[in-house]
């Protein structure tokens, strides 16, 4: 595996590990968000198990997006972004690989932790599986949409908050179909695969389209 893209993938993983596990921090943040909710709502397990998928999804959305503002920031600061731009590898593929690495580092641990946290919310086993499956299908779209925001705000001083403001409205459909398929897994009038396939479709569309928008946004930073 000597291709530049594979090298980039491993570079991203090494950097994340050397600066103290960005992935672990995301999971801790996720854990805190989920455990704060019962304090706000009250420890009623019936209610918590009913809204559990929604809590897990909101927490996953915030945990994914908050980690994403650094996606291009470090590369923009130390100049590696300019090297990527000058290289013969298309910027779109660089964006896609960086997103894949970021997803592996932050979203995968989050998906693994979600069923455990779901247990503390008193969710049914079917519902736990549904949440894990819907997060697995939906988080790629979150990462890629977030990459557009990260590319637009790379190098800006107030980038983090602005990025969330730009991207969160666009994540509405992912949240809707993610929670819908998680809820459908534990019974209901809609079969599980209806919202789940739409969610997969959203992720595929994001994989196909978002790298172009993010790469264009990175190029727009130059004159």
């Amino acid at each position: 595996m000597n291709s530049p893209l594979a090298a980039l993938f491993w570079r991203e993983l090494r950097i994340a590990r050397s600066i103290g596990g960005g992935g672990a921090m995301g999971v801790v943040f996720f854990l805190i968000l989920v455990s704060l909710t019962p304090f706000a709502i009250g420890p009623d397990l019936n209610l918590l198990s009913r809204i559990g998928p929604a809590i897990l999804w909101i927490a996953a959305l915030l945990a994914t997006l908050l980690g994403l503002d650094r996606l291009f920031q470090g590369d923009a600061d130390d100049g590696s972004l300019d090297l990527f731009m000058m290289s013969s590898t298309p910027m779109e593929l660089v964006v896609l690989v960086k997103c894949a690495a970021h997803w592996t580092l932050t979203a995968l641990p989050l998906i693994a932790a979600a069923p455990l946290l779901g247990l503390t919310l008193g969710m049914e086993p079917a519902s736990l599986a549904g949440v894990a499956a819907s997060l697995f299908a939906g988080t790629p779209a979150l990462t890629l949409l977030g990459a557009i925001g990260a590319a637009l705000t790379a190098g800006l001083r107030r980038g983090g908050l602005l990025m969330a403001v730009l991207i969160l409205p666009l994540t509405t459909p992912i949240l809707i179909f993610g929670v819908a398929s998680a809820a459908a897994a534990s019974g209901g009038t809609v079969p599980f695969h209806t919202p789940f396939l739409i969610l997969c479709g959203l992720s595929l569309m994001a994989i196909a389209g978002a790298p172009f928008a993010a790469a264009a946004a990175l190029r727009a930073r130059e004159a």
Binding site: I148, L152, L156, V165, L170, A220, A223
Partner: protein, 250 residues
């Protein structure tokens, strides 16, 4: 047409058009409001509260049309890198946000007596709210990036990404079961709304459209002048400090 791509010629054209457009908008809105309050009949179920429709519906149309104007300007920015397209984009965002806000507020005021609630989370209302949030995000992006040309390109990309929301708004009442009623003007088989209500509505829509173009032209003019002022102040600063001459030349 190409002649007016030159900002100076455009400013001259705008100066000639704005008074006429403003007058036409004033007349159309006056006639429309007169028809709304004194000619258009009350609804047999809703009574006189139906009159809020004559504000709500045109505001909703304009909120979406403004986004399409912004999208075309965004293409102009990305394809031709034309400063006039940048100005048109920037000027449209607050206007679109304002029309969308009017749509949301009047809809809410209409919803309270008719549906018994200020707000429901159905597809139409939520997608219009998302449109409003996208406008706010764009305004935030414009304010954060200092260099105008760079801000224009970033905003253009976000505008093109956000345009997926427009068909969702349009078809939300057909795709999902919503409390919001389906379209009754632009539909297959002609409008289902009575002519006595359709005419005041169309005249109000014309008034809103003319108002939008008046305000949009004025805002583009202000933006062009603001850019000139920015360039002049950089050049003035450069005259005092020779090291900045290179930046001013850009």
């Amino acid at each position: 047409m190409l002649k007016y791509a030159n900002p100076t010629n455009f400013l001259a054209l705008a100066a000639r058009l704005i008074p006429w457009l403003a007058a036409a908008a004033g007349i159309a809105l006056a006639v429309g409001l007169y028809l709304t309050f004194f000619v258009a009949p009350d609804d047999y179920q809703q009574g006189s509260s139906v009159k809020i429709m004559y504000l709500h519906v045109p505001a909703a149309w304009l909120g979406m049309m403004c986004y399409m104007v912004m999208t075309s300007a965004a293409l102009g920015t990305l394809v031709w890198r034309h400063p006039l397209a940048d100005a048109a984009q920037k000027a449209a965002a607050p206007l679109g946000a304002a029309f969308t806000l009017v749509c949301l507020v009047t809809g809410s005021l209409w919803g309270k007596p008719m549906w018994g609630t200020w707000w429901v989370w159905d597809a139409r209302l939520t997608s219009v709210l998302v449109l409003f949030l996208i406008y706010l995000g764009l305004i935030g992006l414009w304010q954060t990036i200092e260099e105008p040309a760079q801000a224009a390109r970033a905003a253009a990309i976000l505008t093109l990404v956000g345009v997926v929301n427009i068909p969702i708004i349009k078809f939300s009442v057909d795709w999902w079961n919503t409390l919001h009623q389906p379209s009754s003007v632009f539909r297959l088989g002609g409008p289902s709304i009575s002519a006595s209500m359709l005419w005041p509505l169309l005249i109000m829509a014309l008034g809103f459209t003319l108002l939008f173009f008046t305000l949009h032209l004025m805002a583009i003019r202000n933006e062009i002048l603001r850019r000139r002022l920015r360039r002049l102040s950089i050049m003035a600063a450069a005259a005092e400090d020779p090291e900045m001459t290179a930046e001013a030349a850009q």
